[in-house]
């Protein structure tokens, strides 16, 4: 993007460069965003830049559950109304949002910030695994729900964690796998169908 620096004002060129570094933003989108900001009222632009700085300065990881938070420990970890004996282990902070949306889980969380991916060189030491084990050693936790994604990396992570946790005598459970709502049986893969059959439930009226 060097040729643009001669025809574009230097500060604008710099803003385009900065946007270009963001995920999913190509050169054209970067230009469009930069010109949009150029035409913005000054106070809107100020508000945007403040918001960016605030995220960087005020949001940290909760020292207990590793979720992103502005107060440490986070609101979920300090909520007296939550069940402190259950920890639900997820890969990303966004997974907590999804689980909180359904509103029927009242335990605590633990965010790993990724999943074990041997081929990409991501091992347990790159995740918040030791932090999880530290929480278990304090006692009081009776169940760990492994809610990593139902794909290869998520399964590998779940198996690895259950191996680590087994000697500690804490019950480990895994989210059920089966048929998605609105899906067609004929499209289900063998693995999902097998597990759906294994995990079948009695119909109670």
């Amino acid at each position: 993007m060097n040729e643009r620096s001669t025809s574009t004002a230097a500060p604008l060129a710099r803003l385009i460069e900065e946007f270009y570094r963001l995920p999913g933003i190509g050169p054209k989108s970067a230009q469009r965003l930069a010109y949009y900001i150029l035409r913005m009222p000054a106070q809107d632009a100020r508000s945007l830049s403040d918001a960016i700085m605030e995220v960087k300065e005020r949001v940290t990881l909760c020292s207990i559950c590793q979720n992103v938070t502005e107060v440490d420990p986070c609101r979920i970890c300090t909520d007296a109304g939550r069940d402190r004996s259950v920890i639900c282990v997820v890969e990303e902070p966004l997974d907590i949002l999804a689980l909180e949306r359904i509103g029927s889980y009242h335990g605590l969380y633990h965010v790993l910030h990724g999943a074990i991916s041997p081929m990409d060189g991501v091992g347990p030491e790159d995740l918040k695994v030791s932090e999880l084990l530290a929480r278990l050693k304090d006692g009081g936790v009776t169940e760990i729900i492994l809610a990593t994604n139902p794909n290869l990396e998520g399964e590998a992570t779940a198996m690895y964690l259950s191996r680590l946790i087994a000697p500690l005598g804490v019950r480990t459970t895994r989210l059920a796998r089966g048929l998605p709502a609105g899906g067609d049986l004929e499209y289900a893969d063998d693995d999902t169908l097998t597990r759906a059959l294994e995990g079948r439930r009695e119909l109670s009226e």
Binding site: G24, I116, P118, M119, D120, G121, G123, P124, N151, L152, E155, A156, M159, Y160, R163, L164, P167, P180, G182, G183, D184, Y187, A188, D189, D190, D191, T192, T194
Partner: protein, 261 residues
């Protein structure tokens, strides 16, 4: 181009998958007739995707693909063999991923290579059933090196070409295989190769799998052969094999846990 030419079907083993954009994945496939190819699978990270379950790494499946601008796009997929036992055991899974990783790294795209496809398929099947997974991996490594054109020399000394004496010799990855005692001075990174290890390497190179599977390795011998082949593979790839570190870690954890109990 008419539509019929833009659509095609192929069998494939899925070697790896990486995220792309919001909900897509780029898959690395190994096919019987087109060699290794990369394709795009759209929307497969959503729970509503009909394809996602079929498109997990290590699956062998039949895919329908449409030629795209850059990458071909998956339009349909049906699992032929999911190697389920590999997915349900962490030790087996880590080995299967190692197999997929070196198969990926050691092959070039769009190079037809049916023997490699067959080897991959057989290896994943063997990992599910074999009592000694190390033997399966060593056989796979040696055959893959062969098929990729990097066959290590273990019949005679790489440097002087003389037949190896039935004593301890050396294995020098950068030299391309076995080196006799006379030639080893001055070579970089030599490893002592016991006579038994030499015999095993020869067996891996010559033998059908059935014969390899009959051999019982002592832990020391298994470790030595593994180190020779691993060193050689790292030399060929000019980089570490990521999944090997995870296998190593599981071994260490396993030993550690046994000590604790």
């Amino acid at each position: 181009m008419p539509l019929s030419q833009r659509l095609y079907k192929t069998e494939a083993i899925i070697l790896r998958a990486r995220k792309l954009g919001e909900a897509d994945r780029v898959l690395t496939l190994f096919t019987p007739t087109r060699g290794k190819i990369e394709v795009k699978a759209k929307g497969v990270r959503k729970t509503t995707s009909r394809l996602s379950g079929h498109l997990q790494p290590l699956n062998r499946c039949m895919l329908a693909l449409a030629q795209g601008h850059n990458l071909d796009v998956v339009t349909g997929c049906e699992t032929l063999e999911s190697f389920r036992a590999l997915r349900e055991n962490l030790d087996l899974l880590s080995r299967a991923l190692y197999v997929a990783e070196i198969a990926d790294r050691m092959t070039a795209e769009h190079v037809h290579n049916y023997p490699t496809y067959r080897l991959l398929m057989e290896t994943l099947g063997r990992l599910q059933a074999a009592p000694d997974t190390d033997a399966v991996l060593r056989y796979f490594e040696m055959k893959l090196l062969d098929l990729a054109g990097f066959r290590p020399e273990v019949e005679r000394c790489v440097t002087c070409g003389k037949a190896l004496e039935p004593v301890d010799n050396f294995f020098v990855a950068v030299a391309g295989g076995a080196v006799c005692r006379d030639c080893v001075p001055g070579l970089a990174g030599p490893r002592v190769m016991t006579l038994n290890a030499l015999k095993v390497l020869r067996l891996l190179q010559r033998g059908p799998y059935n014969e390899v599977a009959r051999v019982r390795f002592t832990p020391d011998l298994a470790e030595e052969v593994e180190k020779h082949l691993r060193g050689y593979i790292i030399g060929v790839l000019e980089r570490d094999v990521n999944s090997a570190a995870f296998i190593e870690r599981l071994r260490r954890d396993g030993a550690h846990m046994m000590v604790e109990v």
